[in-house]
């Protein structure tokens, strides 16, 4: 029996699952926006702006979800500053949750700045203060801010998986692949979100087609990492003999294999994108709850 079966579940449930999902999308969208911002053409600007907007909204939502999940939400700032020695910084480089708190704060800062720059470019900002900030984030500064948002976005998409691995819980601590899996899933879900949302901002068919082609590759990477993940937890495979194991299979079927087939047969991009998002959510749902539920078996067995 794996030594991880003797630990207790941390009650990371719906708020955390939603955070992992939203954070993954936001991080993936930020990465794609950054790449298109730096290396795309003028026709890609609507996708770039959509990407930064998704990242900014996702970062703010992520912060809210994490705060709501705390046992003492008003003490959220204890993760950033030493409560007894404010404003001394609270940071542990070896603790993913501490690293992640700072990463999310900085990701939120740079993605919001990048989004304001994009909205100022479109002339959509009515508030004078926001218009002034957006006006500053243009040209070379916008590229720098966007690059930082993209890099931090990848971090946000992946550190959540590393955080799970750096525990003593079954499944999570039994595999080193969760971070890699969440990054691949986050990037494919970010591309899917942009495919669905960017047309509202005037994205061209060409931009969307290239995003869709990239999503195919991201899904292949996700599938490969998923196989590696399953291989790594094979010694405790009995944990998947549950509703959550079934849900994981459904998630992979609907969220990876079916979109790959739709892409191969040239079906509408939007259908595949919706399935990718569903798959990204089910992956996180099954992974979290499969481990969370194990304490019940432990207690029932009198251990």
């Amino acid at each position: 029996m794996s030594d991880t079966f003797f630990s207790a579940a941390p009650h990371w449930t719906w708020w955390i699952i939603l955070y992992f999902f939203v954070g993954g999308i936001a991080g993936g969208a930020a990465l794609l926006a950054t790449v298109l911002d730096g290396f795309g053409g003028p026709e890609d600007r609507p996708v770039v702006r959509s990407g930064y907007n998704v990242a900014a909204v996702g970062a703010i939502l992520s912060g809210a979800l994490l705060t709501i999940d705390l046992g003492r939400p008003l003490r959220f700032w204890h993760m950033l500053f030493q409560s007894a020695n404010f404003p001394t910084i609270m940071f542990k480089g070896w603790s993913p949750i501490s690293f992640g708190a700072w990463g999310l704060l900085l990701f939120g800062l740079f993605s919001v700045l990048a989004a304001l720059g994009g909205m100022a470019e479109e002339g959509r900002l009515r508030n004078p203060a926001l218009r002034a900030v957006g006006g500053v984030v243009q040209g070379g500064l916008a590229k720098l801010v966007g690059a930082l948002a993209g890099l931090l976005g990848v971090f946000i998409a992946g550190y959540t998986g590393v955080l799970l691995s750096v525990t003593n819980r079954p499944i999570w601590a039994d595999s080193p692949w969760l971070g890699a899996l969440f990054i691949a899933s986050g990037v494919s879900a970010g591309a899917a979100t942009l495919i669905l949302l960017a047309p509202w901002r005037g994205a061209t068919e060409a931009s969307l087609a290239r995003l869709s082609a990239f999503d195919t590759k991201a899904l292949v990477v996700e599938l490969v990492v998923f196989v590696l993940f399953i291989a790594s937890v094979w010694p405790i495979r009995q944990v998947w003999v549950s509703f959550w194991g079934l849900l994981l299979l459904v998630g992979v079927g609907l969220g990876i294999l079916t979109p790959l087939r739709l892409h191969a047969t040239g079906r509408p991009m939007a259908s595949a994108a919706k399935l990718v998002l569903l798959g990204g959510f089910l992956l996180r749902l099954a992974t979290i709850f499969a481990s969370e539920g194990i304490e019940h078996y432990r207690v029932a067995a009198g251990m």
């Binding site: 207790a8 060409a206 290239r210």
Partner: protein
């Protein structure tokens, strides 16, 4: 500087009276579960079932019966192990979990914000949320009593000295003598967590067991959560690098321009 202090629990003399559980709850003013309405487990005299945020001591009842006349009870008063290398302390992002001058591990309830990272990090399943405070809580080894020279409430209340409190060095000597005594009597006994060169640098609450650790609900090789950090971060960085390269190759404008010059591809739409 005081010596490292801790518990040595000799499970062979535990009688399952639960005086330690009651003394702990009383001294630390821990709330009742389920509003004080008794809830029986239904399959054991152990109705506490596990350590959590409002049960910092738990007397584990292990029933090993092969037939009506062939069996034994094993009892063990379980508690936080106050690990020398503590996983909970390692991951705590608020600095709420500290190591005291007695080499014990304490959660400062006024600093903890209830993120629950420590619960998943503990290899023994010791920590949980106290629903009244909304923070993670566990045994403090009666830090407030130690500060004024008192013994922890549980060991003070233990009528058989199954729970012994003292300096770690003295407790280890006493524990080894007890193992020798039991071995001479033909009882298979071994210490769990007493060796500072083994798991987690030794446990400041260690046990004398007469069966495998798993039987008592203890992991054979408890580890720090950070054992996975480097590998997991490396694989994540590799995955990010692969996807970054794919994004650069797939989304950059030059490729689209080349496709346009070639007269094909979605870039012409």
């Amino acid at each position: 500087m005081p010596e490292p202090m801790g518990f040595f629990t000799d499970t062979t003399v535990c009688i399952g009276c639960k005086a330690c559980e009651v003394a702990c709850k009383e001294w630390n003013q821990l709330p009742a579960e389920n509003g004080g309405v008794g809830e029986l487990s239904g399959d054991s005299y152990d109705n506490t079932r596990k350590l959590d945020g409002i049960h910092w001591r738990h007397v584990r009842f292990i029933e090993q019966f092969k037939g009506p006349y062939d069996g034994r009870w094993l009892m063990m008063s379980d508690v936080c192990k106050h690990c020398v290398q503590a996983g909970c302390l390692e991951v705590c992002p608020t600095g709420a979990i500290i190591r005291t001058e007695f080499d014990t591990v304490v959660i400062q309830s006024d600093v903890c914000n209830g993120c629950r990272a420590c619960i998943a990090a503990c290899p023994f399943g010791v920590i949980d949320v106290n629903p009244v405070s909304g923070t993670a809580q566990k045994c403090t080894l009666c830090y407030d009593r130690l500060k004024v020279g008192l013994e922890p409430a549980c060991s003070k209340a233990c009528p058989t000295d199954s729970i012994q409190f003292g300096s770690i060095a003295e407790l280890r000597t006493r524990a080894r003598k007890r193992v020798d005594q039991l071995t001479a009597q033909g009882v298979k006994a071994e210490l769990y967590g007493a060796d500072p060169d083994k798991a987690l640098g030794g446990l400041n609450s260690f046990y004398l067991l007469v069966d495998e650790p798993e039987v008592y609900g203890l992991p054979r090789h408890p580890q720090l959560p950070s054992r996975n950090l480097t590998k997991s971060a490396t694989f994540s960085a590799a995955s990010a690098a692969v996807l970054g390269v794919l994004a650069l190759v797939g989304l950059r404008k030059r490729r689209m321009d080349e496709q346009s010059r070639g007269g094909g591809g979605a870039g012409n739409v």
